[in-house]
Symmetry: C2
Subunit: 201 residues, 2 copies
DNA sequence: ATTTGGATTAACCATTTGGTTAAACTAAAT
DNA sequence: ATTTAGTTTAACCAAATGGTTAATCCAAAT
């Protein structure tokens, strides 16, 4: 059932936890949002921690789907960068709370997602992408930059402006809509910056 | 007095709040860390909120000192970028919890630092730096990129790898020391990336 | 020696919070 | 009609938490 109590709780928990985090969220608030009795949360999910971990795992998975898909695709790196930046920024514009949520909870408990990481075998994907990347370097098609640094650059330029939105909005005094436009502008700008630096012609 | 109760509380509060945030911190824990009775926190700082705001304002100021100093300096932009990246990354390596703390609490309450921002007149500094920047563009010395986008790139590349350390460490499987080295490597890499893109020769 | 005023403490309080439980409800199976 | 098993609810509980207060301490001023 799409509107079973369990589903309603899941969705309510996702909504509340993503915005307020573990410490900031209240079981009662989630129950209210779901429109069910508070005891139902414990009935279906045993504890606040278990409820949180369920939401965290699901959201954490989403964050990596995009990266994995694009990095393993077999198109030229120029296209790969463009595709990555576009899909990543589109995804983030629709779920802007996601990165702060992940980083926050990972900082509190770094081992939170070790199992999940293994289950989606991020390690393998990382290594495969790295191998492809290094092949291109040896072929003289990419600049000789450590893969991890390239990944940091890529993710930094996409994610940080979403993360730091409230800070950046205040210091640059732009409206919500203007900020949204700035992010859309970035799709082309970030691709251009990375490609001009990475691709050897 | 450097070790007056008030000072001890301040320092303990900074230490605890920076790591655990407002919701995650307990007054008792701060009191223990400071080695004073819990009632002293309310005696000197009225409430948890007031104590938090004091710490937040001070830390927030620190984050901008560097940016302001470097951006308003009158050296060539190539040097400016190098100086910015170096001092910023050095600062962040010593206080890695700072950006997450700021972004976190700003997301919860975007109006938290409006007054502080005015008191250090971030708006003015931003406009002055922007004017200088646009002058260089008109002189054909810098690429024609909106100032805010340049600032986003600069800050993203410096801050995000510090913010996302726990996530990046897990997916790339590097140790603490290796991560520290990666960040040190970035000082040159980030400067090079930005300079090669921005500076027109 | 006494007074004075800030600093410090232990005890206390009201509220919030995550979690439990026993009873009640419901719908399907017998 | 009765049983059964899962679902839902209200009431309850213990622990934690931010904050208050009255009493005490202490050093400097009188």
């Amino acid at each position: 059932m799409l509107d079973s109590a369990e589903q309603k709780i899941k969705e309510a928990a996702r909504k509340i936890l993503l915005v307020k985090g573990f410490d900031g969220s209240r079981m009662q608030e989630i129950a209210d949002e779901a429109g069910v009795n508070k005891a139902m949360l414990n009935y279906y999910f045993r504890s606040k921690k278990a409820l949180f971990q369920m939401v965290f795992m699901e959201e954490f998975g989403k964050l990596f789907e995009n990266m994995i898909t694009v990095l393993l695709d077999d198109c030229p790196w120029e296209d790969k960068i463009k595709a990555f930046v576009n899909t990543e920024l589109n995804h983030l514009l629709q779920a802007p709370q996601l990165p702060l949520f992940i980083i926050n909870e990972m900082s509190k408990n770094p081992h939170l997602m070790e199992e999940k990481l293994k289950s989606i075998s991020v390690g393998n994907v990382f290594e495969m992408a790295k191998t492809k990347y290094e092949k291109e370097i040896q072929d003289g098609k990419l600049r000789n930059l450590p893969f991890i640094q390239f990944l940091m650059n890529l993710q930094s330029l996409c994610i940080f402006p979403i993360l730091a939105k409230p800070v950046l909005m205040q210091i640059s005094k732009v409206s919500d809509m203007e900020y949204h436009n700035l992010i859309n502008q970035r799709k082309a700008l970030v691709s251009e910056l990375l490609i001009s630096y990475m691709i050897i012609k």
